[in-house]
Amino acid sequence: MNFNNLSKIAIKALLRNKGRAILTMLGIVIGIASVITMVSLGQSSTYNIKQELSSMGSNMIMISPAFQQHGGVKMGNSNAKSLTLNDYKTIKANARYVSKVSPTVATSAQAVYGANNHPASIQGISPDYLDIRKYELERGVLFSEKDVISYAKVCIIGQTIVKNLFTDGTNPIGATIRFGSVPMKVVGVLVSKGGNQMGQDQDDIVFAPYTTVQKRFSGINHLNMITASATSEEESELAATEITQILRKNHKIASGDEDDFEVFTQEEILSTVNSVTQLLTALLSAIAAISLIVGGIGIMNIMYVTVTERTKEIGLRMAIGAHKRDIMMQFLFESVTLSLIGGIIGIIFGLIAAYALSSLLGWPYVVSEMSIVASFLVCAATGVFFGWYPAKRAANLDPITAIRYE
């Protein structure tokens, strides 16, 4: 029999029992829809995180004091004092794969301007920092190395500080803000970066020369962090190794002993995200496989019932000239049609749900052609696999017995 007639026969048979066909498809619909939704959401969140990471800095390398172990218990690293100004200076002077480097000395103080005040976190940095972290100036200028040397009382402020202190719209450049008891002159205003993935406001920030913060605020000599840019993305691993060697030498760490600092590259963080994503994808695939097996068993079950119910019909078809193969193909076609239509409906529902959820979460809407194509193929395979035995049983019926079946 040709394909045209075969499809006509199978589709008519399905249409004769629409209600059951829909119920049979339900398992596949739900399975595929949830897989499509989850894959899409997973990808859009990964995309989001990657965007965020690359906007965090250029070929960035972060050096922080190591977690200090006390009797096996990991303590916070906020009190760790292993990074010093000397480390920063050695890296700046000697590291060949490092193009920019800046220390970070953090403190916080109440910012007061006129009648307004706002709790501000102040980061003591070198002028390189803005390039490393991809901060840009909206107005004004960057403070200079000279300002650093002279621990000048100058600062650069973020948009949230502007909004909270300069409520009347005056130009912040040249204004003097008092931080606690220290007055500092505003030389620059940053372009807004907005909130990050963790919901932190990246505009609620004040930058000042690290010398100024060390001398006038915290009175400490160690650094909270050192941030650097590698000369290129490819060389960031080399840069990290180089930095590690410099710091081990500086800190006089014997070979075999553990570092008292930690070095992360942006690429490492990215690859961590990637491996998390891969794990997630594997998990989703497992769920997909299970839901499709469940859906497929549903199809198989109904196909068996259908074959039994339609024994008389099968007998008749054989009597009027259907070959075994025609009967086999009819039932296979029916089960594949069920699973494919179920799959298509599932894909549509899945895409709609993913769109709704991602716009609700404010994430980008990512459609993966791969997952659609894969779902489609898996559905076809499910239909063939789970339709095979019922179809085989139908084809092997004896026409004389089948036609008498009541």
């Binding site: 007639n5 004769r16 078809r317 000239g321 070959h323 004389i400």
Partner: protein, 247 residues
Amino acid sequence: MANEIIRIENLRRVFHVGDEDVHALKDISFSIAQGEFVSIMGTSGSGKSTMLNILGCLDTPTSGEYIIDGINVKTLNNNALSTLRNRKIGFVFQSYNLLARTTALENVELPLLYNHEVSAKERRERALAALEAVGLSERLMHTPNQLSGGQQQRVAIARAIVNDPVILLADEATGNLDTRTSYEIMSLFQDLHQKGKTIAFVTHEPDIAVFTSRTIKLRDGHIIEDKQIETQSAADALANMPVNEES
């Protein structure tokens, strides 16, 4: 014999049930010529259906020869038998066997769907012609549950003749119908016979067999009688039936 459609020689059919052999047909020989209207008679269990299944190539003899339209079925495999049924045989069953929720027209088209030499257009034309031949041109789009038993059997007869078979095989085709409707169906068979169809009609009712032109009586798998008979007209029998009285 001129234009032999069916020839059966020393045909036996033995069923094996457990350790027992059931001899359903024992050394049967006969022929059917083109244009004959044969009834196969006998009590229940005499072997009528077994005979008809073999004639219809649904079953094959244990031994002996069966030649239909010059083809010895012994030489055919399953697929060839299916194709032969599709091209040369028309079946009418006691319980109609129409596809539910399917229109009369589509039911009649069904055998031609399994013949890829017939185009969709030709299929439709032939189905319409067959339904007209059984007097159901007004019921094309009716589904079986919208039709009476007699009408359903007419659809089944249309389906049996749509492939223009060399022989029409009916197994107790009036078994589910009342007397009046049975006569109507027999009248239809007589019409088809008039138009040249060869028919083998299984029945255990003698008053139905009188409408055929030859009766073959079976008992215990043997032919006990094979004779030409005076054909009575089913149309006349209908006309003579008392009106307003159900049998």
